[in-house]
């Protein structure tokens, strides 16, 4: 975050709640709390919503791209639209800005049905930042931003506020310094900001953005979404953005709407919406949803389900190696149990998030008998056991009792402890020493080739 971001819009417009906007998104935890508070009333308060999508169905030919989708965005709210490619995100945005006419249902912006409005009236209510825009010509950045004033120009009369609005929009997006440069010569990030400035120059109460960060590097992704966030907070704009990156969506949006197969399957605060089960439905991918230690927003780590494991696997150990092993095995479809894991360890957090049945024990004292017994029970039901990362001797001994054991090194970098471990366990029961990413393959290999055969 750059707290020294110039904020000319807020400075120029007195009707801003200074309490809200004085520190734009410096503290995400704080904003997150606000978001949670907003959404308590948000979904019910349809009368307050600026953009209201009700039962919208859009078909291209035979197939319905959107099937009775409803969604609302309130003033001062930033809603993220997520879903896999082809889920209908772009179509929904186009139904809102009037480019696509719905087959049934209605889109209301500021109380009026978009499809009863002229293009001109619609474009005074909702501005659009398109996914890709043809900007390969010789217009300057200022020319392009000025095109945002099109809805206010008469056929024969000019818009008196154009110059001021363009200047404000360009200052706000920090595009003024290349106002005279030809847009074709700008970098992708600069061009994206010019397009954003064009949308701001429209001075609309609602803003829709289609993948505004798709082609940007990580710095520009964050800056673009910060700009939208600031606009929402200081101007009370209702913003709806299709966002590919779930982490970014979770970090910047008040609410997230998940689209899957033309249906809006969930809407709500990021921490409620981004769950493993929902992501599996929406993206067909298994993912670990954790809390980002820096931003406190949910962070999503997807695991492609490449190997299909139909068995029960027990994981013991600690640290990132165990965490990755648990997530990979779960993604592969195995019934995963875990233990004994140290309390507060990342492996325990992943296991909890993935609803894995887990035995934990304090990291700073010997494993007690109760935990040992619980882990033994889980091991007895497992088809294979995995030891990932380091574990106390008592836990190692527990795992070794199993007849199919896979050993996973911590990040493949076996230290003094690791090599000693490997040699100690090699005599007894090691099937393979491998990296966490390939553990599902190895487990399956272990199940196909029983250990006894090797001995």
């Amino acid at each position: 975050m750059s707290p020294d971001l110039p904020d000319p819009l807020a400075a120029l417009l007195p009707a801003v709640e200074t309490d809200e906007s004085e520190e734009p998104a410096v503290d995400r935890a704080n904003t997150g709390a606000n978001a949670g508070a907003d959404t308590d009333t948000g979904p019910d308060a349809t009368a307050d919503s600026l953009v209201e999508v009700r039962d919208v169905t859009v078909s291209y030919g035979e197939s319905a791209v959107l099937d009775e989708v409803s969604l609302s965005v309130a003033p001062g709210e930033f809603v993220g639209l997520v879903g896999r490619n082809g889920a209908g995100k772009t179509t929904l945005l186009k139904a809102i800005n009037g480019v696509v006419a719905p087959d049934s249902g209605a889109v209301r912006i500021d109380g009026a049905d978009v499809h009863d409005l002229s293009a001109r009236e619609t474009s005074r209510r909702v501005a659009t930042v398109p996914q890709d825009t043809t900007l390969a010509f010789d217009f300057t950045a200022a020319d392009v931003v000025e095109m945002g004033r099109t809805p206010y120009h008469g056929r024969l009369s000019a818009d008196p506020d154009a110059a001021a609005a363009v200047e404000r929009a360009m200052d706000w997006t920090e595009t003024a310094r290349f106002a005279d440069r030809v847009v074709g010569s700008l970098s992708g990030g600069e061009r994206q900001r010019v397009v954003l400035a064009r949308a701001l120059a429209q001075e609309t109460p609602a803003l829709v953005l289609d993948e505004p960060t798709a082609s940007l590097d990580v710095n520009h992704q964050v800056r673009t979404l910060e700009l939208v966030r600031d606009l929402v907070e200081s101007e009370g704009t209702a913003a709806l953005a299709a966002i590919h990156d779930l982490d970014l969506a979770a970090r910047f949006c008040d609410r997230i709407a998940v689209l899957a197969d033309g249906d809006c399957i969930a809407v709500g605060p990021p921490e409620e919406v981004l769950t493993r089960a929902r992501l599996r439905t929406a993206f067909d991918a298994d993912a670990a949803v954790l809390s980002n230690p820096v931003t406190d927003a949910p962070t999503v780590t997807p695991f492609p389900a490449t190997v299909d494991l139909d068995c029960a696997v027990h994981v013991a150990g600690s640290g990132p190696a165990a965490a990755r092993t648990i997530a990979t095995l779960a993604a592969a479809g195995a019934t995963v149990t875990a233990g004994v894991l140290p309390e507060g360890d990342v492996a325990a957090a992943v296991a909890a998030d993935l609803d894995v049945e887990t035995v934990t024990a304090s990291a700073f004292s010997p494993v007690d008998a109760e935990a040992e017994a619980a882990a033994r029970d889980l091991l007895a039901e497992a088809d294979a056991a995995v030891l990932a990362g380091t574990a106390p001797a008592s836990v190692r001994a527990l795992v070794r009792d199993h007849d199919r054991v896979v050993r996973v090194d911590a990040d493949g970098s076996a230290g003094a402890d690791g090599s000693a471990e490997a040699s100690a366990t090699a005599d007894v029961d090691v099937v393979a020493t491998t990296a966490a990413d390939a553990v599902a393959e190895t487990v399956r290999g272990a199940l196909v080739t029983p250990l006894e055969a090797d001995d």
Binding site: D4, L5, P6, D7, P8, A10, A11, T18, D19, E22, E23, K94, N97, G98, V99, S118, A119, R120, E121, T122, S123, R124, V126, A127, T128, P130, T133, T134, L135, A136, F137, D138, F139, T140, A142, D143, V144, V145, E146, M147, G148, T150, P151, H153, R155, L156, A158, A163, V166, E167, M170, D171, E174, A176, R177, F178, A179, D180, R198, Q202
Partner: protein, 406 residues
Amino acid sequence: MGAATGTDSDRSGGSADAESAAGAAAGGSTTDRPAAGRRPWTRAAVWSAGLTVVLVITALVSATIGPVSLDLPTVAKATVNAVGVPTSVGVSVGGLSTFGLTIPVPSVRAEYTYLFDLPVDRTGEVIVRRIRLPRIALAAVVGFALAAAGTVMQGFFRNPMADPSIIGVSSGAAVGAVATIALSVSGPFGLQLSAFLGAVLTAFAVYLIATEGGRTPVATLLLAGVAVQTFLGAVTSFLLLHAGQDLEQAIYWLMGNLDNAAWDEVAVTLPVAVGGVLVLLAYARDLNVLLLGEEDAHTLGIEVERTKRVMLAVSSVVTAAAVAVAGVIGFVGLVVPHMLRLVVGPDHRVLLPTSAVAGAAFLVATDTVARVGAFAGGPLPVGIVTAALGAPFFLYLLRTREVHSL
């Protein structure tokens, strides 16, 4: 909220810094800020005025050149004497006879009052007013119309190779004209009228073919135009084969010429061209926005299909009016907009009027070459001159400058 005041002053300080930094980057002066400083209509007026001066000088110089050499003062005085204002306009009905039928055709007759009567050599004045000026004026009007329509078509199709005839206007005019010549139809404005009708009907047909459910995709329009042009080319070829003695006249028309220019033709074409370009000028801003793509244009408040219809209809009529009186004169509508785009930039509010005036000057100049060439060694249609001069010049621009896109 004790810190609120401090935060506010911090912010205004920060934004002032940003402003001064932006001002410095933009050249150190706030009046250079393009958002506030650029006035496209002012630029358009200044450029157009300058180019109009070029046009007038070109026309006067052109009028001195010919079998009888005249000096510039004589030409200038004769031209001033030729300036008249219409005092009464009447409509009379003539007849266009074809296949034994007589179709009534209204024609406009205007009485003019001439404002000046400068003393000037009588012979020189007759040559200038009756022979050279009508042709120069018609060249100017046709160049004006073709360059304006070419500018609009290039923007409309977002295609640097688009020209005024891209949706088949010229092919339609050719069929109308060649049919009239080959089938020996006569009547007032017979050739011009049938060429005009052929052009407008063709444009309308192409539009109908490309339109489905109220939408006219630009790509479909382009392809429909190419297909219809090919078909009408076949019709023209067939008519030429059966033209018999009229073959030479028909081919001469097809090459584009201003040999039989008369004030009547100027009087009919000028209002259509100027009126059409004024309408197009009112849509110049929309044309800029359409360059972003139709969906973007829609989200910026442009009624895309309606705007496309207006621009297509008006530029087709303007082109048809030019082609009807001058035949198929190529390259003016293609080259002139590119030349002007290099000079004044892509903004159609500036580009459209300047292209139109530059096109007028360009065609006056090339037609002078055609007149001199004809005087020196047999007939030389201006269409040949524009292509022969325009194509190498276009290639030169392509190689040396940035004519790669719009």
